[in-house]
């Protein structure tokens, strides 16, 4: 029997970690992730989990402790935001390259400076080449569902990569929503027992972790990581399917919303996908057919699904909540545009950089984007390839 509760993003993240009951949780508090660690510490203190809670002195240590624990054979988790992720950077790469299936909620927050505690995706987007799988959550329910699935995805034998489950700081982390929660037993049965491949604590089968790997083998190990990411595309879909059986909620690499045959498309990740849904519903009442393509998995990048979804559309706007300074546009835009490059029909794709440092975005802003798309559809001309939505001139 599932229960329905009203919870904030951080509360549901902590509750999900309680249900997962990892062997080790090593974490350091940082706004707006703080409540996850705080609430989970209470669970530990109250004896509700078997988890060894490691209270570290920095995020660099948090990720290091996770790497140590996961190498030893433990199911290890942490959680972070923005500057915390930046501080653990070195070990973030090491976790992925040692193929340790660590799961980490990342509460999206703008990177300093100037110092800012509100939402944008500059933190996780900066880590897009670190070798971690990235699942973006739209709302509290998706935090719950993504975290549970992330354990299975990370630990799948054809993947063995760490997973970040992101959600928008304050907007979702501190916003109360209705969440459906499975029973502890259902979750534990779904994730199963962790069977590490080469636990360091298996002293009968000693192995070496982290030896020097120079020009003669490093490249081969990177090639393996590329393959694991590719495998993850199928694994995310497969586990999404199994999770649907359990929960009734469906999970793919991308999600589409709106009229399937609409030729105006906005692409978004995170909570803005929900705002786009609101705009699409209002536009429908105004007689305008529009569609959302929500990116759930950004790493691995679901190129085929995106191409398939956009094959028949007229014009596309990509919403990026982070800037890639000096690049042609934001990170999601660049990848969508390059994915469409070998299509026979040229589809105009425009970029909207928005919401940096928590700048608010509402339904009206999204409707303005759709109006721009209508103009492009009419004239066939793109005035500005990259637009800065909501910045003061």
């Amino acid at each position: 029997m599932e229960t329905i509760k009203a919870m904030t993003g951080d509360e549901i993240a902590a509750e999900t970690i309680r249900q997962i009951n990892p062997d080790v949780m090593a974490a350091y508090p940082i706004t707006p992730q703080t409540e996850i660690v705080q609430i989970f510490s209470e669970f530990v203190a109250n004896g509700l989990v078997d988890t060894e809670m490691v209270r570290v002195e920095s995020e660099h240590s948090a990720m290091s402790a996770c790497v140590g624990a996961a190498s030893a054979g433990a199911r290890a988790m942490t959680a972070t935001s923005a500057n915390g992720l930046a501080l653990m950077w070195e070990i973030v790469y090491i976790a992925a390259s040692l193929r340790l299936p660590i799961v980490m909620p990342v509460v999206n927050r703008a990177l300093s400076g100037p110092i800012n505690i509100h939402c944008d995706h500059s933190d996780s987007m900066g880590a897009r080449d670190s070798g971690w799988i990235q699942l973006y959550s739209e709302n509290c329910q998706e935090i719950y569902d993504n975290l549970i699935q992330a354990v299975r995805i990370a630990e799948d034998k054809s993947v063995l990569l760490p997973v970040m489950v992101t959600f928008d700081g304050f907007i979702i982390s501190h916003g109360t929503e209705r969440v459906k929660i499975l029973e502890d037993e259902q979750v534990r049965k779904f994730i199963g027992k962790y069977n590490p491949r080469y636990p360091l604590l298996d002293i009968d089968n000693p192995v070496t972790y982290g030896p020097l790997d120079l020009f003669d083998y490093y490249f081969e190990h990177k090639r393996q990581q590329v393959e694991a990411m590719k495998n993850a595309l199928d694994v995310i879909k497969k586990i999404g399917g199994e999770y649907t059986q359990l929960s009734g909620r469906s999970y793919e690499l991308i999600e589409e919303f709106g009229s399937p045959d609409a030729d105006l498309v906005v692409i978004a990740a995170g909570s803005t996908a929900g705002t786009v849904k609101g705009a699409i519903e209002e536009l429908k009442e105004e007689g305008i057919n529009a569609k959302l393509l929500k990116i759930r998995a950004f790493r691995p990048f679901p190129q085929d699904e995106i191409k398939q979804s956009l094959r028949k559309v007229a014009v596309v706007a990509v919403m990026d909540r982070s800037a890639s300074f000096g690049a042609v546009g934001g990170p999601i835009f660049l990848e969508v545009r390059s994915a469409l490059l070998d299509e026979e029909r040229r589809i105009p794709v425009v970029n909207y950089i928005y919401g940096l440092g928590g700048r608010n975005i509402g339904i009206e802003d999204i409707k303005k984007v759709f109006q721009d798309l209508i103009q492009i559809r009419k004239t066939g001309k793109v005035k500005n390839l990259v637009n800065y939505l909501g910045v003061r001139e």
Binding site: R99, L160, Y198, T208, P211, E220, H221, Q224, E227
Partner: protein, 102 residues
Amino acid sequence: MKEKGWKDVPLGGLILEAGSAKEYLTGSWRTFRPVLDEKKCKHCLICWIYCPDSSIIVEDGKMKGFRYDYCKGCGICSTECPFKAIEMIEEAKYKAEKEGEK
């Protein structure tokens, strides 16, 4: 040793069996080569204790030379030998001298 492709090497750069360093010949890193003066050597085996690469060959308690496949030419043995029995000679010079002898 034939180098394996990405499908055959263990994931994550892990080493799954002990003693695999034996297959990894590091002697080519050497710029200076230790050369033993047998007349000066007293077989005290201090070089054997200090060598970080287990490259001093010892048989029946006697210093017998160097494992050049693994010796990186760090010169620690030469520095530590109390009897100055090990000389570090530049590999290029050593090779040139060898060529000259032929």
